[in-house]
């Protein structure tokens, strides 16, 4: 941060802006309330640990973290979905009851530039979350429709929806023949296009990435993988190897984890390489860009000549389009892209963003989707479906005003 920018544009908001934002909040909140979403108000100051372990260092770098006099590590909330999910868990003790919440409040994120009006470091977020919905596709359609309705009611007539569906990618991955471990790797690398492509390359030639492991150890691990000896014996072989090498074991990472990794490496070296046609298919899907109404036929064209069947995922996609239009929002022309959604770590299925022509493409006025892993990650073990959306209220107002404050 240069001293110039420390002079802080944007510290003071005009009363006109605040009043307009207040009116907009009222409109949006009343739509959420009418639809049956119960208002919640998470505290502005939150325990830092709740966010840090979930969101990682990228967001940590943009979160205002501090200690209080008792030495507790706290933060100004960088997000409202996570405290809302925590509230859901506190209220329901993981019994999986359906619950719908709406929130409206300020969140805080560090921005390097102080003068970008579309990226203020404190801004209001209005959002809805539906936990354990009885019908997730219906909840997805409802939440998208409500978000669009709110944005229109706030005065933004022209907005564009773009969509993606990580569920289709997952189904495709399941359909392609490869070790489960490779699926996990590809799923993990999905967020980084270059890493994803390189991983595909690598899996087509696994032998080139093999490593010279110490021989007796390698044989023991390899045998453990094949099931000729038990995993526990592989661990014992590892322990012996470490002892022979004089390598001390310390810290929290266990021999069990290391043995699992080594077994995985051994398996990679012996696995038949990924079929280049499969690699091509996955790459083509990630690059796919088509209007929503043509998505299914395009994917079917990609699958022609393979024995991969992902009909359930495709049917779900079609159902969602129908349900959304029944909710009064037609997204048949919305651009779908196979790679969209991969940048958000927590989404697990349908994803959407709402853009305004008045603002840059990387500053959407709203976004949301299906995130089934979040609750499970907060409270290890309990898997609960969830769908949600958040409107960036300051951006929405900026867009309504054609990009001018």
């Amino acid at each position: 941060m240069s001293p110039q920018s420390q002079k802080d544009a944007g510290l003071v908001r005009s009363s006109r802006w605040i009043e307009a934002l207040g009116r907009q909040d009222t409109i949006v909140s009343s739509i959420f309330a009418r639809a049956g979403f119960e208002p919640v108000q998470p505290a502005v100051i939150q325990p830092a640990a709740l966010f840090l372990d979930l969101l990682g260092e990228d967001l940590r770098a943009r979160t205002y973290v501090f200690s209080d006099p008792d030495g507790r590590e706290l933060c100004l909330r960088p997000d409202l979905t996570i405290p809302t999910a925590q509230h859901y868990l506190d209220q329901n003790e993981g019994c999986g009851e359906p619950q719908r919440y709406a929130y409206n409040g300020v969140v805080f994120r560090y921005q390097r530039e102080d003068d970008n009006l579309a990226r203020p470091r404190e801004f209001r977020q209005s959002g809805i979350e539906h936990f354990a919905p009885p019908s997730p596709p219906k909840a997805e359609a409802e939440i998208l429709a409500l978000t669009v309705e709110s944005i229109r009611a706030a005065g933004l007539r022209a907005c564009n929806v773009r969509i993606g569906d990580i569920g289709i990618f997952d189904a495709l991955l399941e359909g392609v023949d490869m070790p489960a471990r490779w699926r996990e790797q590809l799923r993990h690398h999905l967020r980084h296009p270059a890493a994803f492509r390189r991983q595909l390359q690598k899996l087509m030639k696994p032998e080139e990435f093999g490593r010279a492991l110490a021989d007796p150890l390698f044989r023991a691990i390899e045998a453990a993988r094949r099931g000729t000896i038990r995993h526990g014996d592989g661990v014992a072989a590892l322990e012996k190897h470490l002892e022979d090498q004089g390598l001390a074991i310390a810290g929290t990472r266990t021999l069990d984890e290391i043995a699992l990794q080594l077994e995985g490496l051994a398996a990679d070296l012996r696995s038949p390489p990924l079929d280049p046609r499969s690699a091509l298919l996955l790459d083509a899907y990630v690059k796919l860009a088509t209007p929503a109404k043509d998505t299914v036929s395009n994917i079917q064209a990609l699958l022609k000549g393979t024995d991969i069947n992902i009909d359930p995922a495709l049917e779900q996609f079609e159902d969602r389009l129908k349900l959304t239009s029944q909710e009064g929002v037609d997204i048949s022309e919305a651009p779908f892209s196979g790679g969209f959604g991969r940048q958000f770590e927590y989404y697990t299925g349908f994803v959407f963003e709402i853009l305004s022509g008045a603002l840059a493409e990387d500053t959407p006025v709203a976004g949301g989707g299906r995130y089934d892993k979040l609750v499970e990650t907060i409270n290890s073990g309990v898997s609960i479906a969830a769908v949600g959306a958040a409107i960036h209220a300051d951006r929405l107002l900026l867009a309504v005003r054609g990009g001018r404050p």
Binding site: Q185, A194, I249, A250
Partner: protein, 252 residues
């Protein structure tokens, strides 16, 4: 730090230890004598041969901060400290000259018995598995938050393109000292720290990853872009730079 109304160049140099002695020697070699004015413990000084230079003796990490704020024109400090404080250092300062002392590498080091992990890419894989087993992210103990985030995010100093070998499934725990002891103490799983010979790492059962050298740092003569530069201070900067052997070759 500058006195109002008097045009002069302010140079910050390390106030103690090996770094101070090496700095003094480097200036001496170029025919410039650094000296403290007033009491022997004072933090102000002069260059005897250059009347319009004011010298400030401060700690090396504080020098980076003064450069960032533009409160001094020039400073002698470690590149690691500058880059840690300023993620886009080139916007705030200019590295004028590598001085050939204060060598230290900032590195990513893991327990040596992690025989399945020798690259950043291995580390990410191990971290994903770790999260599944332990329910938490792997912890990286460090004083170098910025450098850690950049390297783990794929940034590589001296390389034009980002590496695809990013590590995401980690979190940083601040370490205030004896970072290399953190993994054995169970306070972190791995570390990012400086090392000059590697013996401390080895003694603590740690090993540097193949692509784990974040920055090969040394002491630099650094100019602030935010200091009040004038014809006089421009000229004095060039004089100091020449005395230290002239600018680095551009490509190095």
């Amino acid at each position: 730090m500058t006195e109002a109304g008097r045009d002069k160049l302010v140079l910050a140099v390390p106030s103690k230890g090996r770094l101070m002695e090496d700095t003094r020697a480097a200036f001496e070699k170029g025919g410039l004598s650094l000296a403290r004015t007033g009491s022997e413990r004072g933090y102000r000084g002069e260059i005897k041969e250059l009347a319009d230079v004011e010298v400030a003796f401060v700690s090396a990490s504080e020098i980076a901060d003064l450069l960032r704020k533009g409160e001094v024109h020039l400073g002698v400090t470690g590149e690691d400290l500058v880059r840690e404080l300023m993620p886009d250092a080139e916007l705030d300062v200019t590295f004028l000259k590598r001085l050939g002392f204060g060598h230290a590498n900032v590195v990513v080091a893991v327990p040596d018995f992690w025989i399945d992990v020798s690259t950043m890419s291995d580390l990410e894989e191990a971290a994903v598995l770790y999260r599944r087993h332990h329910g938490t992210r792997m912890r990286v103990a460090t004083k170098y938050r910025t450098l850690t985030r950049m390297h783990f995010g794929g940034h590589r100093y001296g390389e034009a393109t980002r590496s695809v070998d990013t590590v995401t499934m980690y979190r940083i725990v601040e370490s205030l000292g004896a970072t290399e002891g953190a993994p054995a103490a169970g306070l972190a799983e791995l570390i990012v720290d400086i090392t000059s010979t590697g013996t401390t790492l080895k003694a603590n059962g740690l090993r540097v990853l193949d692509d784990g050298v974040i920055l090969k740092s040394q002491a630099n003569l650094v100019a602030s872009r935010h200091a009040p530069w004038s014809d006089l201070t421009d000229k004095l900067r060039d004089t100091v730079l020449e005395a230290l052997g002239g600018p680095d070759p551009a490509s190095a």
